[in-house]
Subunit: 495 residues, 2 copies
């Protein structure tokens, strides 16, 4: 997996960090956060916080103390141990796009289906650039709503052997998903988590482990609804990782100033993290963020712009202050309706900002289109290119004697060229990033080969990726038990 050992780009002074910190503290203390769930309110009241109706006013020190119980780094294991990932520190985990109701191939845009969901999972499994499929990759509109979570857990268990990542939409949903995670792993590690430490694949220190991650969205501003809280309580109780993500479009769910949105983001996310720690101290959590704007004339969401990038720089810096793994919003975000230049420059901009900011988890790293309404495999292939370039870009340059290559300059001297220099010959295969998507062909050759633009070439690339997909092995008994579970639960749920 990718380690970002380049410097972080930090735009806030210590004074600014402290002002934003005082901002979130004042919000949780004086305004409070609404928790629409009796168990959550009870737990927080028992822990000494001030509960007034469904609003909880927090002692900021309580929030900080409980957030400090969360591990600053942890392992998210996969059923194929080679695909386990490490969250936190300098690691970056890239997940595919998630939750889009529509699907677009070329010029055809339509409701997404289970077949589309499965296709996107296969693409993530086949793409070495991506660490996991965030579920649901798309919303499978052709499946019954009550049992839909079973379809997607089955896809996540059988079509990929990369880690599990789900949206937490209700207690039932989370508990079924965890049951299927248990069946898939076929061991007791799921329930020992997060306390059983393991050595991560890279030979690093022993870390807490979780077998799945659940994304919990806040109903911003300053509110957790019943279903999300059920999900958070169930996931934390089972020792599964929680990604607590305020989704803030400034102007709608947050004030129009970035500093205020950052304070709100922390007020929401840190109190959710504290609640998870109250349920199960030490449970792995990821501090989530998802900060963008709306067009103030139309009310439409806008992605990939300057406020979003600055929000990312600041969010990363703040997450490090609280020593928590951090989820940036995305990934390759754009408002564009089609896989065009806007889709490219907006996605490049948010993705670069996430690298600069030191994000640990990027959902929507590939395939996001039309402000998150559309999943596109063409965009998926384009985003993989952006990812590859940035992974190479955020790898340090060497400055050893052999990198300084004085001998090459001696060999070539003045006015020559380095094409045949000994230093070049020993390195020419690997010295530069070489793109499988971008073209450097001269005009004549490019024209002779059909003058295909990048989006057309991206269309060929994801089809080739899909052709190369191999379904990962899964024990036949485990597969049978998963199928039985789905059949039984689907009947119980009345679908």
């Amino acid at each position: 997996m990718f380690r970002n050992v380049m410097p972080r780009y930090e735009i806030l002074t210590d004074d600014a960090l402290q002002r934003i910190e005082r901002g979130w503290m004042r919000i949780v203390q004086e305004i409070g956060i609404a928790f629409d769930h009796p168990e959550a309110l009870e737990r927080l009241r028992d822990a000494g916080q001030v509960v007034d109706g469904d609003v909880v006013r927090f002692d900021p020190d309580f929030v900080l103390e409980h957030c400090a119980r969360a591990p600053s780094e942890f392992t998210l294991r996969a059923r194929n141990p080679a695909h386990s990932v490490h969250l936190g520190g300098d690691r970056m985990v890239f997940a595919g796009c998630a939750g889009m109701p529509f699907y677009r191939e070329g010029d055809i845009r339509r409701d997404a289906t289970l077949a589309d969901l499965e296709r996107m999972v296969r693409l993530v499994q086949a793409a070495p650039e991506l660490d996991l499929a965030a579920m649901p990759t798309v919303e499978p509109n052709d499946t019954p709503l009550d049992s839909r979570h079973l379809d997607l857990a089955l896809a996540a268990a059988t079509l990929t052997d990369k880690p599990f990542y789900f949206g937490a939409l209700s207690r039932e949903n989370v508990e079924d998903s965890i049951a299927m995670v248990r069946l898939t792993f076929g061991d007791t590690g799921v329930d020992r988590a997060p306390l059983a430490a393991a050595t991560d694949g890279a030979g690093g220190p022993s870390l807490p482990v979780t077998s799945s991650l659940f994304n919990i969205n806040v109903n911003s501003p300053l509110r957790y609804d019943e279903r999300m809280l059920e999900g958070l309580l169930a996931a934390a109780a089972a020792g599964q990782g929680c990604v607590v993500t305020p989704f803030l479009l400034m102007g709608a769910m947050a004030p129009v100033t970035t500093a205020a949105a950052l304070a709100q983001q922390l007020a929401e996310a840190l109190t959710g993290v504290a609640l998870a720690q109250l349920v199960r101290p030490g449970v792995p959590v990821v501090l989530g963020s998802f900060l963008s704007t709306i067009d103030m004339q139309s009310g439409s969401p806008a992605f990939g712009g300057p406020e979003s990038a600055k929000g990312l720089f600041a969010s990363g810096q703040l997450a490090r202050r609280y020593r928590l793994p951090w989820r940036s919003g995305g990934g390759g975000l754009t408002s564009s309706q089609t896989v065009d230049a806007q889709a490219a420059y907006e996605s490049q901009n948010t993705m670069t900002a996430a690298f600069l900011a030191g994000a640990n988890l990027l959902v929507h790293s590939a395939g996001w289109l039309e402000s998150g309404l559309v999943a596109s495999p063409d965009k998926f292939a384009l985003d993989l290119e952006i990812l590859r370039v940035l992974q190479a870009q955020f790898t340090p340059i060497g400055v050893e004697d052999e990198d300084l290559a004085f001998d090459a300059h001696q060999e070539v001297g003045q006015g020559g060229h380095f094409l045949g220099a000994a230093h070049t010959m020993t390195r020419f295969r690997t010295c530069f990033y070489r793109s499988p998507l971008s073209s450097t062909e001269n005009f004549e050759r490019w024209t002779a080969r059909g003058a295909r633009d990048t989006t057309a070439r991206a269309g060929e690339q994801w089809r080739a990726l899909l052709d190369g997909y191999e379904q990962p092995d899964l024990d036949v008994d485990i597969r049978g038990r998963l199928q039985e579970y789905v059949t039984r639960r689907r009947a119980e749920l009345g679908d």
Copy 2:
């Protein structure tokens, strides 16, 4: 003009900086730089450097001492004082694309003409995002070669009132250009430069002034040819600013390792700067860089990739070490043949890197296509969007109490929205960057309006920009003298 007061992104440790410094020092001292011009060799020999044939071996301290005579900041004045710019420090000067032999509108690609050159100059004049037109904007292939520099100086003097920037191709070319600069300003300031200090438009400190800038390319590796040296000597002697730019495609004109290319870049550029200071101490100079790669299979140049971005980060850091204003390569660089997604993500990547690296001068900020072979007004409009976004992105966020907006959170509380909050109402017009090019329209509206992609919208934008172009006033006598000069010199040159 734009001030980049955000932090610089620095990737080299002190140790790495020192290693690269020792690298260029060893090159200039042990291998030396070829100067194909008797006056240059004589000046360098007289100054105590070791001349062997056309190769000069330098004492690195001599190079450093002479570079230290160059101002770290200076003013490049324009005939319209409101358009004068400040080079160095935290200022960024954006120039349009320059020197492309081909021109492309939509799907039509052809040899560029004088009419195309003039159209591109008008676009730069009309674009508030750009500070100057780097000449020639395109190569006017339909004009006689010997007097072509007169056509472009006339265009630069009459179609725009932004500062003069020329390529220095010969002594004659430079001297004619400076003569026309003198005629345009109609005062003696041109010849007093750079010693007459002026207060810059922004009320900053008094700075040395130049009335034009000349770009001098090195014939890398490690060689200045006769014509470029004539240009450098003539421009420096006349007190005009020199931008000394090694153009390094790693693998061809430089070794395939970035550290080696950086050492070479400094060896070449700093010795050129030292020569300019020898000719006229204190003459304004810009340390140029232009670092990219070739495709090692085809030999084609490649732009917008990871090596180029890292080269920019490091080049900016090194330029600050020598306290010289710094020209990054570009600008919006790409190898793409058309204004597509690749053109967008590569241009966004190089432009972002230039902002992060703290570039002071960006040529090719708008209109570059096909590895610099093609100028495209469609790409021009796209690049302006990238520029606007980055200018907003590299503007700090506020963290004052009014930015933290506690009152807005109090007003809205839990679960509401901020659309009508008082804090929003006082700020909604200006709180976010609002793009004239990118679309956030919903799918139905976008479709109803013709489903135009970004490139089609960019085509409309540059046409509207051109429609709004107004030729800047120029004294009728000055215009007459410029025309007379061109007529006389054209005849003398035999065209």
